[in-house]
């Protein structure tokens, strides 16, 4: 590589990383947290068979999982002109939360159903109420079961935030495109941003491993593998 390319890479690195720290990571964190709230609520409604709301939940999951994320971003931002009411950042948070919420709701539902029904009955037999049993027995176990899948969703989301460049969110990928427009070094620059995404994903993977270890210690699971 020529000296010019090295120079461009060095100079652009903070200009790409900074939007990563200011946009990509906060967008992911906020959207994922909201997605979790949606997912747990939608999964619990189905698990508890709240008759009036179950069809609504199924419809939501059907529509969101059946349409591309990019199209959802366009519908909200350009179709409904979300930009008139909120910044592109918050429009992106909205779409990502609703999108990820649908996938995670299915993961959570499966995890809830994997908790042996006998433990719910045992809860009743020691005098607990349904909500107490859910909160203290079923949900903690379901979260542990769902944790690896949910972590996958989080890691995918970090990378998918690059799509928000299309709705004018000034995140890492848009920053890279802008720099490339000036210097025209697509291979070097797009590889550079790829490496930064890889860095973020790797950090999250470590976080996932650490989280799983903690959860195992809490649930006494290590003994099973010992």
């Amino acid at each position: 590589m020529t000296e010019r390319v090295w120079h461009i890479l060095l100079e652009s690195f903070p200009k790409i990383l900074l939007p990563g720290l200011r946009m990509t990571l906060p967008l992911t964190a906020v959207a994922f947290a909201l997605a979790m709230v949606i997912a747990v609520a939608v999964a619990l409604i189905q698990f508890a068979r709240v008759k009036a709301l179950v069809p609504l939940c199924r419809f939501y999951i059907w529509v969101i999982r059946g349409t591309p994320l990019l199209v959802q971003l366009f519908v909200v931002f350009y179709g409904f002109k979300a930009g008139m009411y909120m910044s592109p950042f918050w429009a992106a948070v909205l779409v990502f939360a609703v999108n990820e919420g649908a996938y995670c709701a299915e993961t959570m539902r499966g995890a809830l159903e994997s908790v042996p029904a006998g433990q719910i009955e045992a809860g009743y037999c020691v005098g607990m109420r349904y909500t107490q049993i859910m909160r203290r027995i079923v949900l903690p176990q379901a979260l542990r079961t769902a944790f690896p899948s949910l972590s996958n969703g989080l890691i995918s989301m970090v990378k998918d935030t690059s799509l928000t460049a299309n709705i004018t969110v000034a995140e890492m990928f848009m920053a890279t495109q802008r720099i490339n427009a000036r210097y025209y070094e697509p291979l070097a620059l797009y590889l550079e941003v790829a490496v930064i995404y890889l860095l973020f994903s790797t950090l999250l993977t470590w976080l996932q491993r650490w989280g799983e270890k903690r959860l195992n210690a809490l649930g006494g699971k290590e003994a099973r593998h010992a």
């Binding site: 042996p116 006998g118 433990q119 009955e121 045992a122 809860g123 009743y124 037999c125 020691v126 005098g127 607990m128 109420r129 107490q132 203290r136 027995i137 903690p140 176990q141 542990r144 809490l218 649930g219 006494g220 699971k221 003994a223 099973r224």
Partner: protein, 246 residues
């Protein structure tokens, strides 16, 4: 103390309980025996509302409940005074042994934490598992898990404990430790309704025996007389096959 009148239960077209009536007095240890599929598990589950009966009355602690229409509130009130030990333990897998015991005390009965821990420790001591208090169910043998489950039922100081084949899921060498704990309980005066295939337990520990088959009670009576001279031909036949097995 506990009375069931004309309990009926169907699963689809299959009649599983066809008008079962029984009485348990305070301090009784009643063994329920009979061939598999006879409705013994369903009987216990209906009496503790885990299964909704199609008809019948439960008289418990002086109150009468229609088993078909009993309210959530009444279910909760009765369950606060009963314990249930399942065939496959059903311990909370995300809780340690002691937490399994304190859960019903702290959460359901609002007992202060310190007091609940002390009560739970005593209950675990009683089943010989004081030193396993901080183990998770996955770290315990089947026999130990069932003993924790018994401690969980005992700790709430219930008026009666239902046992559904508490040793059937255990390896043979672990059955003894669970039966020993149940003997102690019986000796301490606990009222127990025990579905079991352990004829020695029924013979030596129980004060009364109920023989169930095809959703009905064929014969019941005081334990010694029951085993010494069973009246019904079907009871005699059942006891013969059981003793041939052992």
């Amino acid at each position: 103390m506990l009375e069931v009148r004309d309990l009926r239960k169907r699963f689809g077209h299959l009649t599983v309980l066809d008008g079962v009536s029984l009485r348990v007095e305070k301090g009784d240890v009643t063994a329920v025996i009979g061939p598999s599929g006879g409705g013994k598990t369903t009987l216990l589950r209906c009496v503790n509302f885990l299964e909704k009966a199609d008809g019948g009355t439960l008289i418990f602690d002086g109150n009468s409940y229609d088993l078909r229409t009993v309210s959530k509130r009444d279910m909760a009130a009765v369950r606060m005074k009963t314990g249930f030990v399942f065939q496959n333990f059903n311990l909370f897998s995300n809780k340690t042994a002691i937490q399994n015991v304190t859960e019903g005390l702290i959460i359901a009965r609002r007992m202060p934490k310190d007091q609940a821990n002390a009560v739970a420790m005593r209950a675990l001591d009683r089943v010989g598992l004081r030193d396993r208090a901080d183990h998770y169910p996955s770290q315990l043998s089947g026999g130990q898990q069932q003993r924790v489950a018994i401690a969980r039922a005992v700790a709430t100081n219930p008026e009666i404990i239902y046992f559904d084949e508490p040793t059937s899921a255990l390896d043979p060498e672990l059955i003894g430790e669970v039966l020993a704990v149940m003997r102690d309980l019986a000796a301490s005066g606990m009222t127990m309704l025990v579905v079991t295939h352990e004829m020695r337990f029924a013979r030596e520990v129980s004060s009364r025996v109920i023989f169930m088959e095809n959703g009905g009670i064929v014969e019941q009576g005081e334990s010694r007389a029951f085993f010494a001279a069973p009246k019904e031909a079907r009871t005699q036949a059942f006891l013969r096959t059981i003793s041939a097995e052992n």
